[in-house]
């Protein structure tokens, strides 16, 4: 069983090395890839020094394209399972290992680490989302649940684990603008088993969130358009292998 853990990173030189060390400790068997999304700082150098493989996009392409790069790499290089987590230190690698265990046990094709899931409540004292994030999250939670008829609590989580069926699907189709939500909708529509697992998340170790209230409003509007359009996308019987 070969496993790839990839970390999309954009200007995260302050935290990327410690995230890599964290993953190495929790998942010593896994290969590590940092997808550097056109960073202007020393993210790629820090990641290489820390012993990870680095795939640098020549210019910033957005989170969706960075994640797709990871899925494509995992698919091409024959990995059986892959997982990704954020480079800002919010995601403890030990939790990623739990997501991967679900995939390797073949209980699900795609596992999402959820901050809000009932089981996470007790551990959530160390994670406090901002107001605009809470609003956005609840709006998306409602509409995604409506669209997929499956209950999702944390739609924008950047901590996931996946098997080869998901790699094949996501390396072909992955919305560059609206990565997290559309990919969930897509996976459910393609008949893949998507599962949420409660996880513990931490405050950001470095950098700052890109969400200001105005941006959040635009983000929500764009997300709703994407979800609506996604409902009319053709359904494929099976993603090409």
């Amino acid at each position: 069983m070969r496993t790839l853990v990839f970390i999309p990173a954009w200007n995260e030189e302050a935290s990327v090395a410690s995230v890599i060390a964290d993953v190495r400790e929790a998942l010593p068997e896994a290969d590590l890839l940092v997808v550097d999304d056109g960073s202007g700082d020393a993210t790629a150098e820090r990641a290489r020094e820390a012993g990870a493989l680095v795939a640098s996009l020549p210019f910033n392409q957005g989170l969706g394209a960075a994640l797709q790069t990871g899925y494509l790499f995992a698919l091409r290089n024959g990995y059986d399972a892959c997982a990704h987590l954020d480079a800002d230190g919010q995601h403890p690698a030990g939790e990623v290992a739990r997501l991967l265990a679900e995939v390797t046990a073949d209980r699900a094709d795609l596992v999402i680490g959820s901050r809000y899931h009932a089981g996470a409540v007790s551990a959530s004292d160390d994670y406090r989302p901002t107001f605009s994030r809470r609003v956005g999250t609840s709006v998306f939670r409602f509409f995604l649940t409506l669209a997929t008829r499956q209950r999702f609590t944390d739609t924008t989580s950047g901590m996931r684990a996946a098997n080869r069926r998901v790699m094949a699907l996501f390396s072909l189709h992955y919305s560059p603008d609206f990565a997290e939500i559309e990919s969930l909708q897509l996976a459910v529509r393609q008949g893949l088993r998507v599962e949420e697992l409660p996880v513990r998340m931490l405050e950001r170790a470095g950098g700052s969130s890109f969400l200001t209230p105005l941006r959040s409003a635009f983000f929500i509007f764009k997300g709703l358009v994407v979800l609506l359009v996604g409902q009319f996308r053709p359904r494929q019987a099976e993603a090409k292998q």
Partner: protein, 151 residues
């Protein structure tokens, strides 16, 4: 009230293009098509994107040379003023063109993204191969390399 307005409108004569408008339009159409040809000649515009513009220029010229066509069009649209019919049609055509370009742009954006991803993956693959060759690559990375050589 509405009846009165309609009656007043009925009384107005149909508005045609003046000959001055027609001459100016014809001149612009010819100049426009020459510009397109020049852009192609200097490799600033690809032939496949020029067809639509040359057709637009020809349409402009036809409208200026045969105003009867425009009046037919205005009648078909139920518009009394030929100029208004002309504006409406041109506006619709431009909308269609703009949409066409958005479609082309989206396709090219997707192609650029894939190109960037391929480059990034190739870079990671070479790093992995280099580390394996230096003997300090982990077992996982060596198996990655041998897997790639088989592919």
């Amino acid at each position: 009230m509405t009846g009165l307005v309609l009656a007043a409108a009925e009384a107005e004569p149909q508005v045609h293009l003046t000959s001055q408008t027609r001459i100016v339009a014809a001149a612009i159409a010819v100049f426009f098509m020459l510009l397109i040809l020049d852009l192609i000649r200097r490799d600033r515009l690809q032939e496949r994107y020029s067809v639509i513009w040359l057709l637009a220029g020809l349409g402009m010229l036809a409208g200026a040379a045969f105003p009867g066509l425009l009046e037919l069009l205005a009648d078909a649209m139920g518009v009394r003023n030929t100029n208004v019919a002309l504006f409406s049609v041109v506006l619709l055509l431009l909308l269609g063109l703009a949409l066409n370009f958005s479609v082309i742009m989206s396709r090219q954006a997707a192609q650029i993204t894939r190109l960037a991803q391929e480059r990034a993956i190739e870079q990671a693959r070479r790093q992995s191969a280099g580390e394996a060759a230096n003997g300090n690559g982990s077992a996982g990375e060596q198996s990655l390399q041998s897997k790639e050589q088989r592919l």
